[in-house]
C-alpha cells in the first residue's frame, strides 16, 4: 500500500504542481488571479481529443499543437480581457471567472456533456513489488518532472527568468532597472498558460474529458497556492505534493471516505494557514517584498 500511496501522491502532486506554479507565476509577476487557468488546461485536453479523433492526427502531435494553440489563445485573452483592467484586481478576478465559464459553455456546445477519453501513449502496465503501475502514469510523471526541471532552468539560469523573478519580487524597482514590466507580464502569461496546456497534455490520457473538468483542479490549485504562499513558486511546488499525498493517504487508508479526499486536503490547507497565515513560503508583510 505504501508504494500505491507514493505513486498516487506523486502523480497528483505533479499535476497540481504544474498547474499551481503556472498560476503562481502570473500572480507573482503581474498580480493577476487567473481563475481561467484550469479552463485552459481543459481546452488543451479537448484540443488533443479533437486532433486525435476528428482530424486523425497522432496524439503526440495533437498534444504539441494543442499546447501551442492554447498558449496563443491565452495571450490573446490576456491582451483583450485582462491587460486593459490589470490594475483593478477585483475586475480581473471577475473577468477570468467569466472567461472560464465561457470556455466551459463553448466546450459544452461543441462536444456536449458526454464523457470522452484519449488513448494512452503507452498502453499496459508493469508491476513493482506487486503494485501495478500504468506505463502512462510513469510517462506522465516523467514528463511533469521534465517540465518542472525546464521551468527551473528557465527561471534560474536565463535572463528572462531573472527578469520574471525580479518583476515578481518588486515590480516598480524592476521597471526602474529598465525591465519592461508589461512585456514581462505578457511573456509570463504565455508561460503560465503554456504550463496549463502542458498539464492538459500529460494528464489527459489518464483522465476523462468533460466541460466541467476544470473545476476540481481549480479548487485544488488554489489550495496549493494558498498553502504554499501566494506568489511563491517554491511554495506551490511543495504545497502541491503535500496535498497530492494527503489525497492519496485518504483514498488508500479510508476507502469508505475516498470521496473526502478533496475536503481533507483543503482542511490541511486551513490548518496550516491558522498557524502560518502567509502560507508555508509566503511573505508575512507586503513590505518585505
Amino acid at each position: 500500500m505504501l508504494l500505491d500511496i507514493i505513486i498516487s501522491g506523486l502523480i497528483s502532486g505533479s499535476m497540481y504542481a504544474l498547474l499551481a506554479i503556472g498560476f503562481s507565476l502570473i500572480f507573482g509577476v503581474a498580480r493577476i488571479v487567473n481563475i481561467a487557468h484550469t479552463a485552459f488546461y481543459m481546452l488543451a485536453a479537448y484540443g488533443i481529443y479533437f486532433g486525435t479523433y476528428k482530424l486523425g492526427i497522432h496524439p503526440v502531435v495533437s498534444m504539441l499543437v494543442s499546447v501551442i494553440l492554447v498558449t496563443f489563445l491565452g495571450l490573446i485573452a490576456y491582451k483583450l480581457f485582462i491587460d486593459p483592467i490589470r490594475e483593478h484586481e477585483a475586475a480581473v478576478l471577475i473577468a477570468t471567472i467569466a472567461l472560464a465559464i465561457a470556455m466551459q459553455e463553448i466546450m459544452l456546445l461543441i462536444f456536449t456533456g458526454s464523457y470522452l477519453s484519449v488513448p494512452a501513449l503507452i498502453k499496459g502496465y508493469f508491476s513493482i513489488f506487486s503494485v501495478k503501475v500504468f506505463y502512462q502514469q510513469l510517462l506522465t510523471f516523467g514528463a511533469a518532472l521534465l517540465i518542472l526541471a525546464a521551468l527551473w532552468i528557465l527561471l534560474l539560469k536565463t535572463k528572462l527568468g531573472l527578469a520574471i523573478r525580479s518583476t515578481a519580487e518588486d515590480r516598480e524597482v524592476a521597471n526602474l532597472m529598465g525591465m519592461n514590466e508589461s512585456r514581462v507580464a505578457m511573456i509570463t502569461m504565455g508561460i503560465s498558460v503554456g504550463l496549463a496546456g502542458l498539464t492538459g497534455a500529460v494528464i489527459v490520457p489518464l483522465t476523462i474529458l468533460d466541460p466541467l473538468m476544470w473545476m476540481h483542479p481549480l479548487i485544488m490549485m488554489m489550495a496549493v497556492v494558498v498553502l504554499g504562499g501566494l506568489g511563491s513558486i517554491k511554495g506551490s511546488f511543495v504545497g502541491a505534493y503535500i496535498l497530492g499525498f494527503a489525497e492519496a493517504l485518504v483514498v488508500f487508508l479510508i476507502p469508505m471516505g475516498a470521496f473526502l479526499k478533496g475536503s481533507v486536503a483543503l482542511s490541511i490547507m486551513i490548518l496550516v494557514l491558522l498557524i502560518r497565515p502567509e502560507g508555508l513560503f509566503g511573505i508575512a508583510f507586503e513590505e518585505e517584498r
Binding site: 500500500m1 456536449t112 470522452l116 489518464l206 470521496f259
Partner: protein, 438 residues
C-alpha cells in the same frame, strides 16, 4: 406635445401587456414540458423520447380531447441539474408560469427532482419522472396525497428495486463464477459512488450477501466524478474480491471500468453503471470496458414485449444510438398521458390522476401498474416483478452490449421461468478465468 407623448406611451404599454398577458389565438395544443440536463446524455434521452412520441401522435392527428383533436407541443427546459439545483427549480418554475405547460416529463438527479417536484406540485402539474430513482419521491405521495398526487414515476424502478435487481443479477453471476471456476465462496467488493441515491444500497448489500452464501470483501465510496480509482482497484485486488458490485450513475463509471480493464483486475463487474449503458462507453474506456455488466432498460437485441423492438429500432434509426432509460419520456407521453387524456376527455389534472393511478398497461420496457403502501395509500410507484418492470442485465461483449439477464430466471420457486427474447449467456472475462480456473 406632452399629451401626445403620454398617449403614445400608454398605447405602447397597452400593446405590450396584451401580447404578454393573453395566450396566442389559434388552435390550442397540449403543451408538455420536457425537463432535464439537456447538454448531457440524460437530457438528450428525455428530449429524444418525447420528440418521438409527439411526432408519432401528431402524425395521427393528435390526442382526442373530448370531441376535438389536439396536437402535442413540446417545450424544452434545461434543468442544468448536474451543476445547480437552483437552475433546475427555476427551469421548472418557468415551465409552469411562463410556458404554462399542461404536463411535465423528465428529471434526472434525485436531489434536483425532489426540489422540482415541489414546484410542479405547487402548480398542480402532472409530473412524470423519467430518471430519478429515490423512493422519497413516491413516499411523499402517500404521506400527502392531496399535494403530491400529480407526481408519477415513469422510469426507472425505484432504487430499492434497482438494488434488488442488481442483487439478483449479482447472485446469478456469482453462481456462474462458483460453478465455472470452482470458487468455494465468492467475495464481493461493493463500490458505490458517494451520492444520495446510493447511500441506502450499502447496508442493503451488507445484509444480503451472507444470505446468498457470498462474503463482503469491503466497501468503497469514490466521488461520483473521480477520474482516478487506482487506489480503490488496488485495495479491491488486495482483498481478493471475485466480484465487484458497482453503483455508479456518474462519470466515475468510466475510469473505473477503464482502469479495471487495463489492469486486468481479476474480478467481474456487475451492478449499475449508467455510463456503461451508453453506446459511447466503448470509446470512453478505450475498449477496456469489455465484460462490464450493468442494469439497463433497453438493449437493441432484447424484446421485453411486443412494443420494445419496434421502439428501439425506430429510436436507433431516428437518433443513431440505443435509447437510455431516460427516453422513457416516450412511454410517459405515448402510453401514459395520451391514453389517459383520451379516456378522461379532458386535460384536467385531477381527473387524469384518478385515471392514471388505476391503469395497468404495457409500455416499451414492460408493464406499468402503480403500487400502494402497506396502509393502502397510493404511492404512484411503478411495480417491479415478472410481467411488470424487471429491467435487463446487459454486458459489453467485444464492442457491443448484449442482454444477459433475465435468462431462465425464477422470481420465486413457484414462479415461471423468464427469459426475454434476445438474451444470451453471460461471459466471464478471460483474465478472471485464467486467475481462478483450476
Amino acid at each position: 406635445m406632452n399629451r401626445r407623448r403620454i398617449l403614445m406611451t400608454a398605447l405602447a404599454v397597452f400593446f405590450l401587456v396584451m401580447t404578454i398577458s393573453f395566450p396566442a389565438l389559434g388552435a390550442k395544443t397540449i403543451k408538455i414540458g420536457v425537463i432535464g440536463p439537456m447538454q448531457f446524455m440524460q437530457g438528450k434521452g428525455h428530449w429524444n423520447g418525447a420528440t418521438m412520441a409527439a411526432e408519432e401522435i401528431n402524425a395521427k392527428g393528435g390526442v382526442k380531447v373530448g370531441n376535438k383533436k389536439m396536437k402535442i407541443e413540446l417545450v424544452k427546459a434545461d434543468s442544468n441539474e448536474f451543476l445547480n439545483v437552483t437552475d433546475a427549480t427555476n427551469a421548472m418554475e418557468l415551465l409552469a408560469t411562463r410556458e404554462k405547460v399542461d404536463f411535465i416529463v423528465g428529471g434526472f438527479r434525485s436531489e434536483a427532482v425532489l426540489a422540482m417536484q415541489d414546484i410542479a406540485m405547487d402548480y398542480k402539474k402532472i409530473f412524470i419522472g423519467c430518471g430519478a430513482a429515490h423512493p422519497e419521491l413516491c413516499i411523499r405521495v402517500a404521506k400527502d396525497y392531496d399535494r403530491y398526487k400529480y407526481w408519477f414515476r415513469g422510469t426507472p424502478i425505484n432504487s430499492k428495486f434497482l438494488v434488488r435487481t442488481s442483487f439478483i443479477q449479482m447472485a446469478t453471476v456469482g453462481a456462474i463464477l462458483k460453478k465455472s471456476l470452482n470458487i468455494p465462496k465468492v467475495r464481493v467488493a461493493v463500490v458505490a459512488e458517494k451520492a444520495m441515491w446510493a447511500d441506502p444500497l450499502i447496508p442493503a448489500a451488507e445484509g444480503f450477501l451472507p444470505k446468498i452464501g457470498m462474503e463482503l470483501a469491503g466497501v468503497w465510496r469514490p466521488s461520483p466524478v473521480a477520474t482516478d480509482v487506482m487506489a480503490e482497484l488496488s485495495a479491491i485486488q488486495r482483498e481478493g474480491a471475485h466480484l465487484i458490485l458497482t453503483f455508479f450513475s456518474s462519470s466515475v463509471g468510466i475510469p473505473f471500468a477503464r482502469q479495471a480493464g487495463e489492469l486486468k483486475i481479476p474480478a467481474v463487474q456487475v451492478g449499475i453503471n449508467v455510463e456503461a449503458q451508453k453506446d459511447g462507453f466503448w470509446q470512453a474506456t478505450q475498449g477496456m470496458g469489455n465484460y462490464v455488466m450493468t442494469l439497463n432498460t433497453y438493449n437493441r437485441h432484447v424484446e421485453v414485449n411486443e412494443l420494445t423492438k419496434p421502439f428501439v429500432e425506430r429510436y436507433i434509426k431516428r437518433f443513431g444510438e440505443t435509447p437510455t432509460y431516460n427516453a422513457g419520456t416516450y412511454d410517459a407521453i405515448f402510453y401514459t398521458l395520451a391514453p389517459a387524456i383520451e379516456q378522461a376527455g379532458t386535460l384536467d389534472a385531477d381527473k387524469l390522476v384518478s385515471i392514471i393511478e388505476t391503469r395497468d398497461y404495457k409500455v416499451t420496457s414492460g408493464r406499468i401498474a402503480y403500487l400502494k403502501d402497506a396502509e393502502g395509500r397510493p404511492l404512484h410507484e411503478i411495480k417491479w416483478g415478472p410481467g411488470y418492470q424487471t429491467s435487463l442485465g446487459v454486458q459489453w461483449q467485444d464492442g457491443k452490449t448484449v442482454g444477459v439477464w433475465p435468462l431462465k430466471w425464477k422470481a420465486t420457486k413457484e414462479a415461471p421461468e423468464i427469459t426475454y427474447k434476445g438474451i444470451v449467456p453471460y461471459k466471464i472475462a478471460p483474465w478472471v478465468i485464467e486467475k481462478y480456473k483450476k
